[in-house]
Symmetry: C2
C-alpha cells in the first residue's frame, strides 16, 4: 500500500521514539481518524513479537521478507540492537528506499546505523552527537561537515534525530509527509513539548 508508513522495530527498541509520530498519523486531537492520510505498519525481522526496551511485546504487521515494495515512509526506531545481525538486514531496505526517493526517518542509534553504512554522506543530518556518529561510522562516515547540532534535521526526504528529539522528529516527518496543515502540526508539537498547563497559562496571558 503506497500510503503505509513502515516502522522498523528491532528487539530492545525505544518505546517512546515511534509513539508521537505514529499517534499523530492515526489520530486527530480527540479520536482515531476516520479517514487517515497514512496507515501505520510495524516491520520487524520476523513475524514473531518484538520486545521493547521496557519489555513490552509488539506484534509486527510485516517481516523483512513480507514487507511491501511500495510505501510512503520508512522509519527506523532507535534502541540497543542497531549493531546486530538483524540490523544488517535493514541495509538493503534503506538503500532501496533512498533510491526510490521514499521518506526515511532515523532516530537515536538508528541514525548512527545510517552513519555506519554511509547513508548520511550526502545529506545534512543529526543523531546522538557527532562523536557517536564518527564512532559508529568509522571510515564509512565522511560527512562531518553535514552534521547539524539540532534535535532533528530534515534534508530532502531524510529526517534524523537524537533520542531526546522524539517530538522534533515527529514534527519534521509530519511536515515532510504533509500529514496536516503546518499550523496544526506546530500546535501538536507545542502542546506535547510545553504541556497543557503551560499552554493554558500563555492563553490566559495573551487572550
Amino acid at each position: 500500500m503506497k500510503n503505509e508508513i513502515l516502522y522498523v522495530l528491532l528487539n530492545e527498541y525505544a518505546d517512546h521514539e515511534p509513539a508521537f509520530l505514529a499517534a499523530a498519523i492515526n489520530c486527530d486531537e480527540r479520536a482515531i481518524r476516520t479517514n487517515p492520510k497514512y496507515i501505520n505498519k510495524v516491520v520487524a525481522p520476523t513475524l514473531g513479537e518484538v520486545r521493547s526496551c521496557s519489555g513490552f511485546r509488539t506484534v509486527p504487521d510485516y517481516s523483512f521478507d513480507s514487507m511491501p515494495e511500495e510505501y510512503a515512509a520508512l522509519i527506523l526506531i532507535g534502541g540497543y540492537q542497531w549493531m546486530s545481525e538483524d540490523a544488517e538486514r535493514v541495509v538493503p531496505i534503506v538503500k532501496c528506499a533512498i533510491e526510490k526517493g521514499i521518506a526515511v526517518g532515523a532516530i537515536c542509534n538508528a541514525a548512527s546505523f545510517l552513519a555506519r553504512h554511509g547513508f548520511l554522506n550526502s545529506v545534512k543530518h543529526t543523531g546522538n552527537g557527532l562523536e557517536q556518529l564518527k564512532l559508529w561510522g568509522g571510515e564509512n562516515y565522511t560527512n562531518e561537515s553535514g552534521y547539524v547540532h539540532e534535535q532533528a534535521v530534515r534534508d530532502g526526504c531524510m529526517v534524523t534525530a537524537n533520542g531526546s528529539g522524539y517530538l522534533e522528529f515527529a514534527k519534521e516527518l509530519l511536515l515532510l509527509l504533509e500529514n496536516d496543515p503546518p499550523e496544526y502540526i506546530e500546535m501538536f508539537y507545542r502542546f506535547q513539548k510545553e504541556g497543557f498547563v503551560k499552554m493554558c497559562q500563555s492563553q490566559n496571558e495573551h487572550p
Copy 2:
C-alpha cells in the same frame, strides 16, 4: 510478584503515556538493566493483543482474570476507551489497590475515569483539566478543591497527570517507587524534557 509494575492497557491506549516510565524502570542510561528493582508487565481485559491509538498491537502479560493479587504499582494508561465496558472491569482492581496502599498512577482519560468512580475525592490530584474531571465525574466527583493545575500531581500513593504530562507522570512515579536516587531521576526527566541539544548548550555555558 511483588516487584511487578502493572500497566493497564485498553484498546486505543495512548502509545506515549507508558513509554518513558516503563523505559526508565527497565533501562539505565545505556542499556537494559541487569538487575532492575521492578519488572514491567502489561495487563489487558483478555490475553489477546490490545491495539494502541497508533494501531500498534501489544501482547498482554496478564488478563484482568490472571493478574496477580500482589504487585508494586498499578498504572492506568489513557486512551479512548475509559468509558467502555472494559473500563468498568478496572473499578474493583483500583479499589483493591487503593485499599492495600499500592501505588496507583493514572494519566489523561484514565484520571477522568478515576474521577468518574469517586477515586479522587480524598487526594490532591490533576487530570485533563478541571472541566473534564467534572464532566466525567458528575455527582461522583466531589473534590474540586483537591484539583491542582499541574502537569502531574503526587499525593500519598496516587499520581495523576494530564496527557501531555507524560514526563512529569514518569518522574513522580519513579520518585514514589524510589526506582533510582532523586538526582538521577531529575536528570532523566530534564534530559527528556529539555533535550540533548539544550543540555549540551547549558553544560558549555556553565562548565
